[in-house]
Every structure is written in structure tokens, then in C-alpha cells.
Symmetry: C2
Subunit: 144 residues, 2 copies
Amino acid sequence: MVSDAPPPDLLAILERAGCRDTAPRRAIVSLLEQKQEGFTLEALSDELPSVGRATVYRTVKLFQEAGAVCKLATINGSHIYSLCGVGHHHHHTVCVECGAVEEFRVDAVERLIGEISADIPGEVISHRLELYVNCHSCPASKGK
Amino acid sequence: MVSDAPPPDLLAILERAGCRDTAPRRAIVSLLEQKQEGFTLEALSDELPSVGRATVYRTVKLFQEAGAVCKLATINGSHIYSLCGVGHHHHHTVCVECGAVEEFRVDAVERLIGEISADIPGEVISHRLELYVNCHSCPASKGK
DNA sequence: TTAGATGCAAACGGTTTGCAAACCA
DNA sequence: TGGTTTGCAAACCGTTTGCATCTAA
């Protein structure tokens, strides 16, 4: 149920989008590909001092548009970004303690929303579901 | 299913919170009480030129904390605020065309999330569900 | 009388943009 | 070479804060 999302091939996404192959983009990609958790672009940018902030934002936006990165709402209304499997609809759990993000897909959710739609005036175009959790692996420190 | 949410008594909420009865707050309250749709605080503030921006933000935050105003994510990741019935857990539909917000509550959603929780590592603390709709009453103009 | 509320303006965090220089194809 | 991409800095948006003034109680 909690999917082990296959990491998207970010370089391939860039290529498919007709983007040039540049050093800053490669640096961003290789950092992103090792991110298991949610992250902020601030932090991402700080981890890449050799890459300009604007480039980080621009590149991540490319991935967002390609569906490889999702922008999630945290419980306090701020945002975190998360790598995610492209091409399949899914939702996320976000740990309120450590920010760890997991992807999940439960067909029952989609089915239920389909049923609800019938009772909603107008046409349901899409939806967003976030579960806020305490992941129980962070505070007690035993890594993730 | 789509609830006709009884509008919360905002003045009562302020009183209960031990707030003083002031002209700016009354102005904000009476504007809020006639808002059926989602709104931004920018816009709200613009509609109240006699009230300082900070006061609008501070007052709406009071209502947020009291549960009478919810901050929703729009489909593009920005936020809108919406008056909502206090005291009962609910979700929202947001029209992607006109921004109209409706409140709904479906027990099946809560039940399903309870079931999912069993399969999620860690403890599910809360959740957020938003449905993005085309409300079909806005574009063709026939009012709401 | 005085704690609480206000308005202003400045600061803030996160993000986007204009632009000239650097770079890939 | 020419169009893309970059980095910088400035601008931006939505929101919060410090502070001196004002006001309800």
C-alpha cells in the first residue's frame, strides 16, 4: 500500500523536455535523486552553493511540471517539495515531526471520491489528500 | 451531503476569546459574514480601506484559530481563506473557475481514512482533503 | 487608568524576474 | 555562431512584526 516509488529518471525528463545538458542541472539532479524526504528549495539551494538560487527554483519547477516533484502542504500551511513517481496518481503522508514524506496509493480512495462526486454539484476535476502522521521512526532516532 | 453550513457567529467568537469590541473588528466581521466564496486577505483588506492590513490579518487569524475560517490550498498551490462551520470536521470543494468554496462532510471519507491508517507506518494525526471542481454555476453566469 | 487594539512602515520568507555574461549544440 | 541557460540582484507576493498611538473597559 505504501509504495516503494521507483525514482524517476530526472535526466531523462530534462532530455525529453528538450533541455540542454548543463553542469548546474546535473548537480541538482544528483542531489535530488538521493532525497528520500521532503525538502524545501531553500535548503536544497543551500546544499548547492555552486548553483544559483534561481537555477534551483527554475529546474525544480521543470520537474514539477513533469510530475516528478510534488509540492505538498504541511500541517502548518507551509510547503515542502518531494520527489515522486511520475505517471501514477497518488497521495502523500507527511511526518509532522521530521517531515519525511511517503507516497501512497489506495484505490479505495479514488473509488470513494468517484462516488462522492455524484453528490457534488458540478464536475470534480481533481483532488488532493494529505495525511499528517507521526512516523515513529524519527523521534526515537533510529533513522528512517 | 453538501452542507448548508450555518454561518458561525463571529462576534460571539471574538467575545468568547476575550477580545474587545472595536470598530475595525466589526467592519471585518460584517464583511466576512457576507462572503460565500473563498477570498484572499489581500482582497479582503482592499475592501476595507479604513482598516489597516495588519488588523485584517490579525483578526482573521483569530478566526482561523477558532476554526471559523479555514485556509485552503488551491489547485495551483496558492491559498484562499473561507468561512466555515465551526466544531465539525469537514472538507472543501473549490471551484477552479470562480473560487467558490463549498463545505462537505462525508462520513465514508473519515471511515476510509481510519482504515487506511492501519496500513500506514506510524500514527495518522490528521488529514486534508480538497476537491477541485468546476462548479458549473459560475461561467454561465447564472449567479451562485 | 491601563491593558489591549490599531495603523503604519519596515522586515520577513519564499519565490520570480530582468538582464548581461557564460555556455551548449 | 545563436539560442539557452546561468548567476546575480532586485523585485515580488503574502504575511508578520515593532512600535508609538489610541481606545474600550
